[in-house]
């Protein structure tokens, strides 16, 4: 190897190395702080007995709850949950779009614009679900509608963030081509951005849908009538058979949804 080559060898830029080290040290310090004061782990004697009872309960689901002529049973509750989740997700998927484009770094010229968008999304996310639910209870009363609104508005924060990042991650070449041909922003979005981010949009929306199905807490609070309240009651009353059947119902429903949505996604992408 010739000497000149070695001498001309570029070095990793010093500035970047300093930055990397700073970040590394900061991270190490954070973890040190987090680990110090963590108590020891000790397994309780009662563990075996209690867990056995819970597991055996879960594995002996209360089949009687599946259907009840009164109409307050697993199947009805799941259907109601499903309906609420569909609408909640629909609302948030629509509402989050402007926020997502607002927050995406590559959609605006100035960084402060997208930063402002990100701030708004953070604020929405930080607003507790519980308070959101109370607000809507005050405006439309207890029931599924309040649940839909609470789910819908609350998930704007999450979906907006994830969508925004999907937009930031896309290949910008195609959008450039549209810009070059004099397309306006909307046309550029429609022809170059949307086709690229569509798969991500769909999968995030479906993921959010799944979360909504599982949002027992929020649905319980507003008395939405879905599976939320029964699940929480059963858990509080340590009625594991009932918990078992409800979880089974949710798992089956989520799996079926996953399957259906998977094939829809394949079709649309």
């Amino acid at each position: 190897m010739n000497q000149a080559v070695i001498n001309k060898t570029p070095k990793k830029p010093l500035k970047r190395r300093i930055k990397n080290w700073t970040i590394l040290i900061a991270v190490v310090l954070i973890y040190l702080w987090a680990f110090i004061g963590m108590p020891d782990i000790n397994i309780k004697d009662s563990a075996g007995q209690a867990i056995k009872a819970i597991i055996s309960g879960l594995f002996h689901p209360d089949w009687g709850y599946i259907y009840d002529p009164g109409g307050e049973d697993l199947i009805h509750a799941l259907m109601e949950t499903l309906a609420i989740a569909v609408l909640g997700t629909f609302i948030s998927a629509i509402l989050c779009l402007p926020f997502a484009f607002w927050a995406a770094r590559n959609m605006s010229k100035h960084q402060w614009i997208s930063n402002a968008g990100k701030f708004v999304l953070s604020a929405i996310r930080v607003f507790p679900e519980l308070i959101m639910a109370l607000l809507f209870i005050k405006s439309v009363g207890l029931g599924p509608f309040a649940g839909i609104l609470a789910l819908g508005f609350h998930s704007v924060g999450m979906l907006g963030k994830l969508f925004g990042e999907a937009i930031e991650n896309m290949d910008f070449g195609a959008a450039e081509a549209l810009t070059a041909s004099g397309a306006n922003r909307i046309q550029t979005l429609w022809f170059a951005v949307i086709p690229q981010v569509m798969p991500a949009f769909l999968s995030y929306t479906l993921y959010r849908f799944e979360i909504s199905v599982r949002s027992a807490a929020i649905l319980g609070i507003v008395g939405a009538g879905g599976i939320g309240a029964p699940l929480i009651f059963a858990l509080n009353a340590h009625s594991w058979n009932r918990v078992g059947i409800i979880l089974l119902g949710i798992i089956i429903m989520v799996t079926v949804i996953d399957f259906i949505s998977g094939s829809i996604r394949k079709r649309l992408v």
């Binding site: 970047r16 990397n20 970040i23 973890y31 702080w33 680990f35 108590p39 782990i41 397994i43 309780k44 563990a47 007995q49 209690a50 867990i51 819970i54 109601e80 499903l82 309906a83 609420i84 569909v86 609408l87 629909f90 701030f119 953070s122 604020a123 996310r125 930080v126 607003f127 507790p128 679900e129 519980l130 308070i131 607000l135 809507f136 005050k138 405006s139 439309v140 599924p144 509608f145 649940g147 839909i148 963030k161 994830l162 990042e165 991500a200 999968s203 993921y207 799944e210 599982r214 027992a216 699940l231 858990l235 509080n236 979880l247 798992i251 989520v254 799996t255 996953d258 829809i264 079709r267």
Partner: protein, 249 residues
């Protein structure tokens, strides 16, 4: 074309049917809107005095979230990879991996608490573990989807140089998803801080408990204080995470 159309119709019917079933009424929403303001008005002004009071639980929450999210995030990595069709090409592996992932996501927080308390007692350890399980669900799912969406060109290149599977992943997959993984990790961290209710269930304290307590006293001004505090923390996390993402990658 026709298929797309049918899918579209299916979605519309689904939404419409759901609206009927749940009694959605736009007019009642608009009519009820003013009622919301009475509650919002009760939140203002925030109780500034309360800030100093919640610093300790906030720090505790952050501490547990750091550990729990890390544990969950690390555990999520192999699952995300094993679930991805373009990484392991064997349905024998990716279907079970995905199923496990879905199953763990379905466990409600309350059930987690019910399982952990008898095993580990109350306090930080079950709290951290519960956060870990919860974060695992989120991170594994999101990471797996971004792994499935990566550009296959570099993968091909790694195949062509004769890299073994692990090297192939490390040089072809990892650099492409690190940024996204980091962002999911930090997102999950953020969720753990702001909705740390699970910590309350296992007697680990934390900010979620304070939110519940102030709520049960109807002290909405303190609720707002907690919200603002959390927002500040989240913004700081966001800022740091953006810096890390920009500089490190």
């Amino acid at each position: 074309m026709i298929r797309n159309f049918l899918t579209f119709v299916f979605v519309i019917i689904l939404i419409w049917g759901s609206a009927i079933k749940t009694g959605v009424s736009f007019s009642s929403f608009v009519r009820g809107l003013p009622n919301m303001w009475t509650l919002i008005a009760e939140m203002f002004p925030p109780n500034w005095h309360y800030f100093s009071y919640i610093t300790k639980p906030m720090l505790e929450t952050i501490r547990m979230a750091v550990l729990g999210t890390t544990a969950g995030g690390v555990a999520a990595i192999p699952f995300a990879l094993f679930s991805s069709r373009n990484v392991v090409r064997m349905p024998m592996i990716y279907y079970p991996a995905r199923f496990m992932m879905n199953l763990i996501r379905t466990i409600p927080e309350l059930l987690l608490a019910a399982l952990f308390v008898p095993i580990l007692g109350i306090g930080e350890i079950p709290g951290i573990l519960a956060i870990a399980v919860f974060s695992f669900g989120i991170i594994a799912k999101l990471a797996y989807e971004s792994v499935e969406a990566i550009d296959t060109g570099p993968l091909e290149a790694m195949t062509a140089v004769g890299a073994n599977k692990i090297q192939w992943i490390f040089f072809g997959v990892v650099p492409q998803v690190t940024a996204q993984f980091m962002s999911y990790f930090l997102y999950s961290f953020e969720i753990n801080i702001r909705s740390a209710a699970i910590l309350g269930y296992v007697g680990a304290g934390g900010i979620g408990l304070y939110l519940n307590n102030t709520l049960s006293f109807f002290q909405y001004d303190r609720v707002l204080t907690i919200i603002i505090y959390t927002l500040v923390v989240v913004i700081v996390i966001d800022f740091i995470s953006n810096k890390i993402r920009e500089k490190l990658l």
